[in-house]
């Protein structure tokens, strides 16, 4: 008598659609996925352990390397967490807050551009990839001029940002966000009405709102399931409550819905950046907290106080009072949070990163199981995971 049996295959860690080093062990019945088991940890660098041996300032570069597609957002979450621990949240100057919002939203655009590029590429739409990376390059240029680095920016500081925007930057950002909606129209022109694109993502990777919350999905992934929740609006930071923007929510619970959510978010980000540029007033970009914030270089070389503060902060660091706090921010991929415990020493006693991608990836098996192997590729794309953040 003829019998059939399932076949187990490896997808990754060197598979192009796994966006890094994700290994999926798929049990297949024909082309249908019966069971999917993600194996992670190939990129584990022990960030949390290293952080326990660094001063609070020295941890900032480590955060760049978590979600390396959205470095400034990781910097921001960490700096907000340390500021909360120190109790100086209200002392951050207005200009620093606004610059943070501008850079955070540019980062969201940058991250979503990579998501759209690779998501479409995985499904077979190559042209979109080229267009998205063209626009991403412009954001990287802005990154480079502002922070000196294309990817690992380390631009945010405890108390503000590392440096003011260079001359002409406001115009460059404004020109970019004025052009950007037209580019988004181009992507939509290539994809939204495209029958193949629709067939590949409509109804694929369904997850109900209740299940999405249970498994811990956050960010665009949960908003595609009809959950109206955005930390920028609901637990605001950096003055997000003063900006007028719409939280994108779609009810279809599938990959199509998440695609719509992210595209709307990109348009909303342009709107937020424009509002931020309008309210950008001259002023300091670092809080007046000499025990915490590095003094300007001219003070270091010209005044004895500046020299002493610089020396103390670099050699010893600052000592927050003992306590523990959690600060979550709305990363492009979902809620990224930092849980910091201070024991009164200049180094964090414990730093736990709440990674968005790690938790979102956990939903993969239940979204993939029962669907075709080709849909698995679409579902990895729609979850928008970054392995640097998963493995930490």
């Amino acid at each position: 008598m003829a019998t059939t049996e399932t076949m187990t295959i490896n997808m990754g860690p060197q598979h192009p659609s796994t966006h890094g080093v994700l290994q999926l062990v798929l049990e297949l019945d024909g082309e249908t996925v019966v069971k999917a088991t993600p194996h992670i940890g190939f990129l584990h660098r022990g960030t949390e352990k290293i952080a326990e041996h660094r001063t609070y300032h020295q941890v900032i570069p480590l955060t760049d390397r978590l979600d390396y597609l959205a470095p400034m957002h990781n910097n921001l979450g960490y700096c907000l967490a340390v500021e909360k621990l120190l109790g100086i949240t209200d002392a951050i100057p207005e200009r620093a807050q606004t610059i943070r919002v501008i850079m955070a939203e540019l980062t969201r655009l940058k991250s979503h551009l990579v998501w759209l590029a690779t998501h479409a590429l995985d499904i077979g739409a190559m042209t979109v990839f080229i267009y998205c990376f063209r626009e991403r390059e412009e954001i990287i240029d802005i990154y480079e001029k502002v922070s000196g680095a294309r990817m690992t920016s380390s631009y945010m500081r405890v108390g503000g940002v590392a440096a003011d925007l260079p001359d002409g930057m406001e115009k460059q950002i404004r020109d970019f966000v004025n052009e950007m909606p037209r580019h988004i129209d181009t992507y939509e022109g290539l994809l939204t009405g495209n029958k193949i694109w629709q067939k590949r993502i409509m109804g694929v990777g369904r997850i109900t709102a209740e299940k999405a919350i249970d498994i811990g999905l956050s960010g665009p992934a949960v908003r595609g399931s009809g959950v109206d929740w955005d930390l920028r609006r609901d637990n605001p930071y950096c003055g997000y409550e003063n900006y007028d923007f719409k939280v994108a929510v779609e009810q279809d619970c599938d990959t199509w819905a998440r695609y719509r959510v992210r595209l709307t978010e990109m348009r909303e980000s342009c709107k937020i950046i424009r509002q931020a540029l309008d309210r950008l007033e001259p002023g300091p970009v670092l809080a007046d907290a000499p025990k915490v914030c590095l003094p300007p270089k001219k003070d270091v070389v010209n005044t004895i106080e500046g020299l002493i503060h610089h020396f103390k902060i670099i050699s010893e660091g600052f000592k927050p009072e003992a306590g523990e706090i959690y600060q979550g921010v709305e990363n492009p991929k979902g809620e990224v949070g930092y849980y910091l415990i201070s024991d009164g020493s200049p180094k964090p006693y414990r730093m736990k990163v709440r990674p968005a991608s790690f938790v979102n990836l956990q939903a993969l098996p239940q979204m993939v199981e029962g669907s075709l192997i080709a849909d698995a590729v679409a579902i990895i794309g729609t979850l928008d995971v970054v392995l640097g953040e998963i493995d930490r």
Binding site: I40, G41, H44, G46, E48, K49, I50, H53, R54, T55, Q58, K84, L85, G87, K211, I213, D214, I215, G216, V227, W229, D234, N235, S315, G317, G323, E324, I325, Y326, G328, E335, G337, Y339, I341, P346, K347, R350, K352, R354, F358, V359, Q362, D391, R392
Partner: protein, 160 residues
Amino acid sequence: MSEHAAIAKLKGKFPDSILDVVEFRGETSAIVKKDEIVAICSFLKNDEGYNFLTDLCGVDYLGKTPRFMVVYHLYNVTTHERLRLKVPVEESDPTVDTVSGVWATANWHERECWDLMGVSFNNHPDLRRILLPADWEGHPLRKDYPLQGPDREPYQGRLS
């Protein structure tokens, strides 16, 4: 600051299990006994609306007793309130009952906690190492685990 609304109800429902309540920078942490953690979490989820488990992790307070704490970060998606639960865990018996039956998301968080901190979870459906290889020895986030890894000379240069 007034007391967190859920804490008052928790105190009424589980009077013997709440060991301490700490307020810091407007955040509330409740230290609770580990025996009733599943009942407490179910109560907070079903009756108080804390339907989202943001994070779960272990902390090593080497030199103190009990040595470990397992920390739960709860979030209410409707009211946008946060609550932190901390569960003391003895070094002699580093186990806690799993809450993966309450929130499915706890599954991987608990695996990570076991992997890096060495606190295991009773009745967990799939308690394997998650970030480190299956044959790894030791739990790196413990404070007595050397930064450079085991069997290596400690780094002699400057760390900061």
